[in-house]
């Protein structure tokens, strides 16, 4: 119990003193995660809409596969990206292994299935009566889509929050693709893992609280957006 309290105190101390290494780790975490979530949003919402509103052969199975991929283990994503980005892999020429770029790729792949799947659920949850009304009013397909997205905006916002939460809290992909290099690819979760292994429990807990604090701020920000 004492350790948890002293972790809290350490967290507050690190934030108040703007500890440079903690600030660096926190900024990198935000950069990597927000970029990944932004890219994933730009892909997943159109992709999810497309799957929802188009009829095609095997649609049910495609949705089933997407939902299965919610459980994609982060370390397998990490391994997959490692093999892709390694100098002896197909994308080795990019030089992205052990860089934040590689970590962004990993987190994007990680959250895409869940964001696509939840977008589909959000759009499917719109009552049939509304869909019919929109169609009867003679909406163009563009208007049809935007009206639906607007109708489902709370659920879609929740999708983005879930994607963000999964990305910021994962450690497996980040450690395998980034390599946990200090000052370069060390983010909050990989740092927590390292500090715990070095027996620095205080620091680990403090970083954990900072991570949760960020998640809270992001949720508040999203909440404000939702209320508009």
């Amino acid at each position: 119990m004492n350790e948890i309290i002293s972790g809290c105190i350490t967290a507050i101390h690190l934030i108040l003193t703007r500890d440079p290494s903690v600030m660096e780790i926190t900024m990198l975490t935000l950069q990597v995660t927000l970029t990944a979530v932004l890219i994933a949003t730009c892909i997943s919402i159109p992709l999810g809409s497309c799957i929802t509103f188009r009829e095609f052969f095997g649609k049910k199975y495609v949705i089933g596969v997407i939902q299965t991929l919610y459980a994609f283990p982060t370390v397998i994503i990490g391994l997959f990206c490692f093999l892709l980005l390694s100098k002896s892999g197909p994308l080795g020429f990019l030089g992205w292994l052990f860089t934040p770029h590689g970590m962004i790729l990993g987190q994007t792949l990680l959250v895409m299935p869940i964001m696509t799947g939840l977008t589909i659920s959000a759009l499917q949850a719109i009552p049939k009566s509304i869909t019919d009304t929109i169609a009867v009013l003679g909406a163009t397909s563009r208007q049809f889509l935007f009206t639906h997205l607007r109708e489902a905006r709370f659920a879609i916002m929740a999708t983005v929050i879930v994607g963000f939460s999964r990305a910021i809290s994962e450690v497996g992909a980040a450690i395998m693709i980034g390599g946990n290099i200090r000052g370069h690819t060390r983010i909050l979760t990989t740092s927590i893992s390292l500090n715990t292994s070095m027996g620095d429990i205080d620091m680990s807990l403090a970083l954990g609280f900072i991570l949760l604090g960020i998640a809270l701020l992001v949720n508040i920000a999203m909440g404000l957006v939702q209320q508009r």
């Binding site: 900024m27 990198l28 935000l30 950069q31 990597v32 927000l34 970029t35 932004l38 390694s86 100098k87 002896s88 080795g92 030089g95 292994l97 052990f98 860089t99 934040p100 770029h101 962004i104 208007q143 935007f146 009206t147 997205l149 607007r150 905006r153 390599g179 946990n180 290099i181 370069h184 292994s197 070095m198 027996g199 957006v225 508009r228």
Partner: protein, 309 residues
């Protein structure tokens, strides 16, 4: 359509925020200024690289950056094979020999040594203090089968320390596979040296550690040194360049500069005195001048590397 506008504004605001936040990521250092090292965990866990890295950056100047991945010898050599790093700092002579023979690496230089140490709880439940390493292992195995208070935590991760542990089991007369399946007393942790020491400490078990990491962590542990003498315990650290013929993108010039830096008299002195102040004892010994002790040639500790024209 007015209903469309609000989300668009929000989207644009988020986009701008994200671009703002991500700009520093895009301002990366150029690849030819980065020396990427894969290292055995002990050189990182002890903090030695935190001293040597910045010292090298200051000496070379020119915005050069040293980065390292702390992964254990097995993984480090694997990264080298794949060409994902420029240089490896490792401690497993047999694995290194194979790596060099297969043409994956060039120019091995020995820059430091210390000793492995069998550590365990102060009560020494197997009663092996002071034995020769192989006898101590043999006794731990026999006692472990009968007495549940005798346990051994292995790195179990193909690291240099793990492969030394296997070698000691062998010199005690056992096949490693038999040890792995010998019972609950033998625990494969699958983690770095620091974590493994932490596990052994929690469980009151024995484990094999390099001296440097043990001394650096000893303050947080109840474990004590049980066996630290014997030929089986010599621990030799080498730096090896990734063979540029296999992987043209390797940063050979910086790698060569780093190895020459390690062999310089100043750095050998830093290595030999590192940790004295904090831990009361040097964590490593410089290799130069100690060739007889570690049975390697003078060339291997001292011959500077040259950049091919």
């Amino acid at each position: 359509m007015s209903m469309k506008r609000e989300p668009t504004y929000v989207g644009i605001a988020l986009l701008i925020l994200t671009i703002f936040l991500t700009t520093p990521v895009m301002g990366e250092t150029f690849e030819d200024k980065v020396l990427m090292i894969a290292t055995t965990t002990s050189l990182d866990d002890t903090g030695l690289l935190d001293v040597l890295g910045p010292a090298f950056e200051a000496e070379v100047g020119d915005n050069v950056v040293v980065q390292w991945l702390s992964k254990g010898t097995g993984v480090s050599l694997e990264y080298g094979k794949r060409g994902d790093v420029d240089l490896m700092m490792v401690h497993d002579r047999a694995a290194e020999d194979a790596f060099l023979a297969d043409g994956y690496g060039t120019d091995r230089r020995v820059f430091a040594y210390n000793y492995f140490v069998l550590v365990g709880p102060e009560s020494d439940p197997a009663g092996v203090a002071g034995m020769a390493p192989a006898d101590a292992f043999d006794t731990i195995m026999e006692m472990g089968m009968e007495d549940s208070s005798v346990q051994f935590v292995s790195r179990g991760d193909n690291s240099g320390t793990h492969s030394r542990e296997k070698a000691i089991w062998k010199s005690a007369g056992y096949e490693y596979a038999d040890i792995q399946s010998a019972g609950d007393w033998y625990i494969e942790g699958g983690q770095g040296m620091g974590s493994t020491l932490g596990m052994a400490d929690e469980m009151g078990a024995y484990t094999l550690s390099d001296m440097g990491t043990f001394l650096a962590y000893r303050g947080d542990l109840d474990l004590v040194s049980i066996v630290e003498e014997g030929d089986d315990l010599l621990n030799i650290y080498s730096a090896i360049l990734v063979n540029p013929e296999n992987e043209p993108s390797v940063n050979t010039p910086l790698g060569i500069a780093w190895i020459n830096f390690l062999m310089s008299d100043e750095v050998q002195e830093i290595i030999s005195t590192y940790g004295v102040e904090e831990y009361g004892k040097a964590l490593f010994n410089g290799a130069k001048g100690n060739e007889d002790v570690i049975a390697v040639s003078v060339d291997e500790t001292s011959l500077p590397l040259e950049i091919a024209a």
